[in-house]
């Protein structure tokens, strides 16, 4: 038998086998089958990692039935073998311990964690997706903090709006242009998401211009509002927030439509949109007459917006009023609401109950 030094394979998964497993090898004074050697090492390794399956060791590597270890051992050899086995058990495997020593917790869980598949928390909302979606939509719904109004009367359309932009409780701007000039004879108002309104009104302006170029005639207010409504309907449910009024003068006369991001579109004579609209409606509905003059209508619109800004925290800044006539729109006024307040309700000198007077000279 060729004398061969066996460098015992400490590492389990080394497939390099220095000789056939059946070969008898000598480690020092001990002669043993190489297979035995491998088995002992693997078993000792396993004592630290019992979760590993042992089947790989007992699965036959050969198709032929197992050889019985047909070795005729005399007693002495058998005893030596036993001893060796016992020694094997007490082998110094401190090299292997570094692995598990690093994990101070109980051996069992450490081994589980090492070899369990990596786990992570499921993202929020996966448990109940529909509820999550509803909640997300609610957080985006800032009930359109603004006041805008528009109404048709005999002389055309009046459009008025405030100019405050708010983010929750923070007033981000007092000078927002909420009446958007789509083209020289059509106006749109802004309520809801400022970016959404600005972008889609500009887009509508482009479409109106293209229509004019292609058809050699202006688009009607009906057509323009329908174009916008169709676009908004196709984005329904995706979080656009727009409540707008399209006002204009076309071949059929004055036109006023309310279009919103839910895809709704309404034709009407009087509309007010925004968080301040209930207050504006009160004043507007009270003072409205179809046969007003332009000045009367102007004053009505201004008052209505002023009252809405007085009571609604999300409305304020400057009241802009526009008039749309047969020749297009014209801006009538832009008044600061705090100045309007003192105009409508000037400071009255109030009687003082107890006047401070000098004590009479003694």
């Amino acid at each position: 038998m060729k004398k061969m030094k066996v460098i015992s394979p400490i590492l389990m998964e080394v497939s390099w086998v220095p000789c056939s497993p059946l070969r008898r090898v000598r480690i020092g004074p001990i002669k043993v089958r190489y297979r035995m050697l491998l088995l002992v090492f693997r078993l000792s390794f396993l004592s630290f990692f019992p979760s590993l399956s042992l089947s790989q060791h007992f699965a036959p590597t050969r198709t032929k039935p197992h050889h019985r270890i047909s070795v005729s051992l005399n007693l002495k050899q058998r005893k030596q073998r036993e001893e060796k086995r016992r020694m094997m058990m007490k082998l110094d495997t401190s090299g292997l311990e570094s692995f598990s020593a690093a994990v101070p917790s109980a051996m069992a869980t450490a081994e589980d964690q090492l070899f369990a598949p990596p786990s992570f928390d499921l993202p929020a909302g996966c448990a109940d997706f529909d509820k999550f979606q509803m909640e997300a939509k609610q957080t985006l719904k800032h009930a359109k903090g603004t006041t805008t109004l528009a109404f048709i009367f005999n002389q055309g359309v009046i459009v008025a709006a405030d100019s405050r932009a708010s983010m929750g409780g923070y007033i981000s701007s007092q000078s927002v242009k909420k009446i958007i000039e789509i083209n020289p004879y059509m106006l749109g108002t802004m309520a809801g998401g400022a970016a959404d309104c600005q972008f889609w009104h500009r887009n509508l302006g482009i479409k109106c211009r293209l229509h004019e170029l292609a058809n050699k005639r202006r688009i009607s207010v009906t057509g323009a509002s329908k174009l916008l409504a169709n676009i908004l309907y196709s984005y329904r449910g995706m979080g656009l927030s727009i409540g707008t009024m399209i006002a204009g003068w076309d071949e059929k006369g004055p036109g006023l439509y309310y279009v919103d991001s839910e895809g709704g579109r309404l034709k009407g004579n009087r509309f007010s949109v925004g968080s301040g609209s209930p207050y504006a409606y009160g004043v507007l509905d009270n003072g409205y007459r179809p046969d007003m003059t332009v000045d009367e209508a102007h004053e009505l619109a201004r008052r209505a917006i002023y009252h809405a800004t007085f009571r609604d925290g999300a409305s304020g800044g400057v009241v802009s009023v526009y008039h749309v006539g047969p020749n297009g729109w014209k801006k009538l006024s832009g008044d600061d609401v705090s100045e309007l307040h003192y105009k409508y309700y000037p400071v009255q000198p109030t009687p003082v109950e107890h006047e401070m007077v000098d004590a009479p000279p003694a």
């Binding site: 292609a214 058809n215 050699k216 005639r217 688009i219 009607s220 009906t222 057509g223 329908k226 174009l227 169709n230 071949e251 059929k252």
Partner: protein, 253 residues
């Protein structure tokens, strides 16, 4: 030359699209069609080839409506016409839906012409072999309009025009005799133009009249016969006047 008339997307060296020109040939073999625009009426007339006895003539309609205010007559391949008319009808309704307004005559003509042009610039298709005459009233307007398209996809507005068989002679007649007419005079002018190339008689002519109030109305055979009789009488009177005048001048000379 023969190499350039197979695929339509290929120009010939001298700048022709042969397939389009052959389509125009097909149009020239089709039924005669004429359209005349008056001040408040617009008339379409089509030559009616003699219907076989067993055919139900109601199913063969040569003048069709695209919408309540637009009508179309065509010359050329009738099967192509059916496809084009269906697409145009859908477009009319789609326009009503997106813009809440009926189409203008120019819009639908542009659409049909665009469709015809698309088929001259695609691979594997042939052009539509028909020219159309499109008449109608713009919404909110009382003025009638008449447009013509052809297989190449061009379109233009006309006061009076003809396509199909012998269209040149009809057009010459119209150029000579056109004047601003209204109502019955427009109808008579259209019939006179058709009679230049078609045998006279109500059963060889189909006429449809469109007004702003009443929309499209197909004339009955009896009515057409009346008009034809009137026209014949006028012609005879005119000829008699000419002859009489000639005789008097010759007598005086």
């Amino acid at each position: 030359m023969a190499r350039y008339d197979r695929a339509i997307t290929v120009f010939s060296p001298d700048g022709h699209l042969f397939q389009v020109e052959y389509a125009l040939e097909a149009v020239r073999k089709g039924n005669a069609a004429v359209g005349v625009r008056g001040s408040d009426t617009v008339v379409l007339g089509v030559e009616k080839k003699s219907t076989p006895k067993l055919q139900d003539s109601r199913t063969v309609r040569k003048i069709v409506s695209l919408d309540t205010h637009i009508a179309l007559a065509c010359a050329g391949l009738k099967a192509d016409a059916r496809v084009l008319i269906n697409r145009a009808r859908i477009e009319c309704q789609s326009h009503r839906l997106t813009v809440e307004d009926p189409v203008t005559v120019e819009y639908i003509t542009r659409y049909i012409a665009g469709l015809q042009q698309k088929y001259t610039q695609s691979g594997g298709v042939r052009p539509f072999g028909l020219s159309t005459l499109i008449v109608g009233f713009d919404p909110h307007s009382e003025k009638p309009a008449l447009y013509q398209t052809d297989p190449s996809g061009t379109f233009s507005a006309w006061k009076a025009n003809a396509t199909g068989r012998n269209s040149n002679s009809m057009r010459e007649f119209l150029e000579k005799n056109y004047k601003e007419t209204s109502g019955k005079e427009t109808i008579k002018l259209a019939i006179r133009a058709l009679l230049e190339v078609v045998e006279s008689g109500g059963k060889n002519i189909e006429i449809a009249v469109m007004t702003h109030k009443d929309g499209l109305r197909q004339l009955e055979e009896a009515e057409i016969d009346e008009y034809v009789a009137e026209i014949e009488a006028e012609k005879a009177a005119a000829e008699a006047a000419k002859k009489g005048g000639g005789a008097s001048t010759s007598a005086s000379s």
